[in-house]
Amino acid sequence: MVVRKIVTVVEEIHLEGGRQVTPAARVVVVAAIVRNPWAGQGFVDDLGPGIDANASDLGELLAPLVLDALGAPAEAYGKAAVVGLDGEVEHGSALIHTLKFGDHFRKAAGATTLLPAVEKRGPAGVVFDIPLKHITDATLRSHHQTVEVRIADAPHPDELIIALAAAAQGRPQQRLAPLSSEQ
């Protein structure tokens, strides 16, 4: 697996709706920009070998980095695959929609739910949103949130952005009633 660069984004919200957020709401993203393992091979029927060769390594690389950058226990999480223009969305999905990738993050974060995901294809500098949900209860409405990312020079046509996101809390000023209170 050839990693070109690793990008870390740390967002902290101190004010929302004009009111103080204490402690500041923190959301982080760590993204690896890697060469698409199927680049230049035409249509590959069996993505299994490429998944086996890369998905676990990527999860193992990114999971500790995102938790380290968060600097607090993760309460919500999500993942992303952005495929360069010469690849298939299926290539990105192949690497993130497997337990081989996500289990590293789930285990490190003490999480049990599936990671919400975005997978799309785009040019370098494409803006993408990573959805996050609670790490043990995906119905917990307070923790449904999104973080926006842009990497100016990635993905190249033959690259993938593979990213993990983590939040230390739900939305700032979250105040929706729990799902269970609705009919």
Binding site: V2, R4, K5, V9, E11, E12, E16, D68, G71
Partner: protein
């Protein structure tokens, strides 16, 4: 890559200290005129592991940190003296932003190149951004905090939320060091709102990945006069 974590922790402290920048000043201020609270901060770091298929001879980490504040001069006219607010707000921003860069990049000594920038929301003047980054209350302090000597290169613009600004950097003690001419793209998805300013500081721990375009010491003499004498040109 342990640095972003320490940066994140430093950021929490930053939030507490700059949640209300107005309280940081010691001089008496006109009531209601100095209130620039930090709505959010965004730290963006990148580590280039390979470039054009090969690892850099000197790997460098680049970072840019953004603070989103209210524009303290909204609704004031072009004859308004900007200095009173600058003297209070800019030093706090210089300290907070450089602290985060130092944390993210592994210390003051690790920082080799720097740059600064501002994006002014559409209800403000570009002069408002300039006031916050081009005066000694920001520039001299950023230079001191990062132990630099060079003038700090910059970019500024007025734009809508989500606008990307490319922030230039050069060497902190020897600005003409060509290997360190580099940039980093900065963008905050939901800022600046019309009444906000995004203030940015950027730094790098080394040169471009495969810097190989020489330097002033190795350049041949190139001038317009020489070119005119060259019959092949």
């Amino acid at each position: 890559m342990s640095s972003p974590a320490t940066a994140a922790r430093a950021g929490a402290e930053l939030g507490r200290s700059t949640g209300s920048v107005a309280t940081a000043g010691e001089r008496p201020r006109t009531p209601g005129r100095v209130a620039a609270r930090v709505r959010k901060t965004v730290l963006y770091c990148e580590d280039v592991l390979t470039e054009s298929g090969a690892g850099p001879a000197r790997p460098a980490q680049r970072a840019v940190v953004a603070a989103v504040i209210e524009n303290p001069w909204l609704g004031t006219g072009p004859s308004t003296d900007l200095a009173p607010e600058v003297e209070v707000i800019a030093p706090v921003l210089a300290k907070a932003l450089t602290d985060r860069l130092i944390e993210a990049l592994g210390g003051i000594d690790a920082v080799e190149a720097f740059g600064k920038a501002a994006i002014v929301g559409t209800a403000g003047e570009i002069e408002h951004g300039g006031a916050l980054i081009h005066t000694p209350w920001f520039g001299n302090l950023m230079r001191d905090f990062l132990q630099g000597e060079s003038i700090i290169c910059f970019a500024d613009m007025r734009g809508d939320a989500g606008e990307t600004l490319v922030v230039p950097m050069w060497h902190k003690t020897a600005a003409a060091t060509r290997s360190h001419y580099q940039t980093i793209s900065a963008r905050v998805s939901d800022a600046p709102r019309a009444g906000e300013i995004v203030v940015l500081a950027a730094a790098s721990t080394g040169p471009r990945p495969h810097a190989r375009i020489g330097d002033r010491t190795t350049d041949p003499t190139v001038s317009a006069e020489n070119l005119e004498r060259d019959p092949s040109w």
